[in-house]
Amino acid sequence: MSAARDSQARRALSALRHDPPAVAGAVVLLALVVVGTAGRWLAPAGVNDVDVDQMLHPPSWAHPFGTDELGRDVLSRVLVAARVSLEVGVVSVGIALLVGAGIGLVAGYYRGWVDNVLMRGMDVLFAFPVLLLAVAIVAVLGPGLLTAMIAIGVVYTPIFARVTRAGVLSVREQVFVRAAVSIGASDLRIIRRHVLPNIAAPLIVQTSLSLAFAILSEAALSFLGLGIQPPAPAWGRMLFDGRGFVTEAWWLGFFPGAAIFLTVLAFNLVGDALRDVLDPRQLTLGEASRSTT
C-alpha cells in the first residue's frame, strides 16, 4: 500500500514537472511564501510610514508601485500584505479540512442516522451563498483576522465534508476494508490505515483549489472592511481604500488587485494540475460553488 502511494506521489510530481502552467503556478507560490515570510524585510519602506509630501505619487524608481493617499509606499504594503492572505488562506482551509473531513469520515463510515443528521447540517450551510454567510458570521463575531479565518473555514467546511463522504462511501465497500472488518480491526484502525490513505487524493486536490477561493474570500472580506483592521495592510482593504482615487491614481487599484489575481491563479493552476493527475474524475466543486462576490 505504501509503495503504491509513493509511486502515486512520484507520478504526481513527475506529471506536474511536465505541465508548464503548473510549474509557473508553483514558482509564483514559492515566491509568495518567500514574500509572505520575509515581506517585512524585503519592503523598501515601512508599511505605515506616512509622508504628506509624497501623496498619490505615480510609480517611480523611488516608489515602483507609487504611493497612496497618505504618502505610504504601495510596494511595501503589497509585500507585507502577502502574509495576511497566506495566513488566512492556510488557516481557514485548515479549519475546513479538519472539520469537514472529520464530518465526512464519520458520515460516510457509519452511514444511517449519523450520516443523515451530519449531511443535512452540511446542506444547511450549503444553502447560503459563500460570501454572504462569511459576512454574516464576521458581522456578529466582530471584524478581524481571526474571525475572518473562522468564517471562511466554516463556509468551506461542507465542500470537504461532501468530498470526504463520497470517497469513504466508495472505499468502505472495497474488499480490503471488508477483510479488515472480518479480522476484527477497530473502526479507528480501519479509518486510519485503510480509508484515509485512499481518500487523500481528492482531499489534496480540494485543498489546493479551496486555498484559491479562500484567498479570494479573504480579499472580499477585507474589501468590505471585515478582515484585518487598518492600519495593517491587506490587499482587499487596499483596493477598497484606493477605489475613491481610481481615476486619478490607477496604481492604487491595480497593484493590490494584481497580487490577489496572481496568487489565486497560481493556486488554481497547481490545483488543476493536481486534479488531472490525482483525481481526474473529481467534479470541480470549488468552481461550481464559487459564488460571485
Binding site: D123, V124, A127, I137, A219, L265, T284, T293
Partner: protein, 314 residues
C-alpha cells in the same frame, strides 16, 4: 416524477428549517446585548426596552426561536433596529435592483460562454480552444471587484463612456438604467461566463465522444447537423443546472460589486446592515437570500428531472 418532487420538497423544507436556525443563532452569537450594541450612542432606555420586546429577546431562547419561525412563515421578519421599519419591506424594496443586475449578468455570461464553450469543444485543441481555456482560468482567478475597479478606470475614467457608479430604476429610465447596469453586470457576468465556458466545453466534449454521435457521423451527417441536433440537446442539460446555480448565487446579492458600484440591492443592504449593526435587517436579508437560493435549486432539480428522466429513477 411526483414522488421525486415530493421528496425534494420535503428535503428543501428540512434544510429551510435548518437555515432559520442558523439565521436565528446569528443574533445569539453577538457578543453582549445585540440591541445595546446596535443602538450604540443613540441608547435610551425606552427605545431599548421597546426594541428588545419587539424582537422577543426578553423571552426564553427556545420560545424566541419558535416565535421567529412562526413570524417568518407569515412574512414578518421583525423591525429594523435603526429605522423601526418592517424588515420584510426593507428587504423586498431592494430585490428589483439585485434582480435586474443578476439577470443582466447571467445574460452577458450566457451570450459569452455559450458560443465560446461550444466552439472550443468542437474545435478541441485549436487556438480558440486554448483561448477559451485561458479565459476560463482568468475568470475563476480574478477578483470581480478588481475587474470592476479596472472597468471604472477604463470606461468611466479614461473613455468616459459609462457612469462609474449609481443606479437608475429600469421602470423610470431604461436608457439610464442600461448605462448604469453595464459595468457592474459585465464585471459579474464575465466571471460567471468563465465558469460556464468551462462547463459547456467539458459537457460538449463528453457528448461528442458518445456512441450515438459516432453513429450520426458514420451515417454521413454534416458536423453542423450532428452538433446542433444531437450534441447540444444532450450537452446542455447539465449546463442548465450550472446557469441556474450561478443565477441563484447572484440573486443572493453580489455584495462586493454592489458596494463598489453603489448599487442599492440586497448585497448593498447586507453591507449597510453590517456597518449599522442592524441585526434584524442582516438576518432578514440572509434568510431571504438563502430561501431564494433553496427555491432556485429545487426548481432546477425538478426541471432537470423533466429534461432527463433518468434522474427520477435514481
Amino acid at each position: 416524477m411526483s414522488r421525486f418532487v415530493l421528496r425534494r420538497l420535503l428535503q428543501s423544507a428540512v434544510v429551510l428549517l435548518g437555515v432559520t436556525l442558523v439565521v436565528f443563532l446569528l443574533l445569539q452569537l453577538v457578543p453582549g446585548d445585540p440591541v445595546r450594541v446596535a443602538l450604540g450612542t443613540r441608547f435610551d432606555p425606552q427605545t431599548y426596552e421597546a426594541l428588545r420586546t419587539r424582537a422577543g429577546l426578553d423571552r426564553p431562547l427556545v420560545a424566541q426561536y419558535f416565535s421567529y419561525v412562526g413570524r417568518a412563515v407569515t412574512g414578518d421578519l421583525g423591525v429594523s433596529f435603526r429605522s423601526g421599519q418592517p424588515v420584510t419591506r426593507i428587504v423586498l424594496e431592494r430585490l428589483p435592483a439585485t434582480l435586474s443586475l443578476a439577470l443582466t449578468a447571467v445574460l452577458i455570461a450566457v451570450l459569452v460562454a455559450f458560443p465560446l464553450g461550444v466552439l472550443a469543444a468542437v474545435r478541441s485543441g485549436s487556438a480558440l480552444d486554448h483561448a477559451a481555456r485561458v479565459f476560463s482560468q482568468f475568470g475563476v482567478s480574478v477578483p470581480d471587484f478588481w475587474m470592476g475597479i479596472m472597468g471604472i478606470l477604463l470606461f468611466a475614467g479614461v473613455l468616459g463612456w459609462l457612469p462609474p457608479s449609481g443606479y437608475v430604476p429600469l421602470t423610470e429610465d431604461p436608457a439610464g438604467w442600461l448605462a448604469h447596469v453595464l459595468l457592474p453586470a459585465a464585471t459579474v457576468g464575465l466571471v460567471t461566463a468563465s465558469i460556464l465556458t468551462r462547463f459547456i466545453r467539458s459537457s460538449v466534449l463528453e457528448v461528442l465522444s458518445a456512441d450515438y454521435v459516432r453513429t450520426a457521423e458514420a451515417k454521413g451527417l454534416r458536423t453542423r447537423v450532428v452538433v446542433l441536433r444531437h450534441v447540444l440537446r444532450n450537452a446542455l442539460i447539465p449546463v442548465i443546472t450550472v446557469v441556474a446555480v450561478q443565477l441563484a448565487s447572484l440573486l443572493g446579492g453580489v455584495i462586493v460589486v454592489e458596494v463598489l458600484f453603489a448599487w442599492p440591492g440586497i448585497g448593498r443592504l447586507t453591507y449597510d446592515a453590517v456597518q449599522a449593526r442592524d441585526y434584524p435587517v442582516l438576518q432578514g436579508a440572509v434568510l431571504l437570500v438563502a430561501a431564494l437560493f433553496l427555491l432556485m435549486n429545487l426548481l432546477v432539480d425538478i426541471l432537470y428531472a423533466r429534461l432527463d428522466p433518468r434522474i427520477t429513477a435514481r
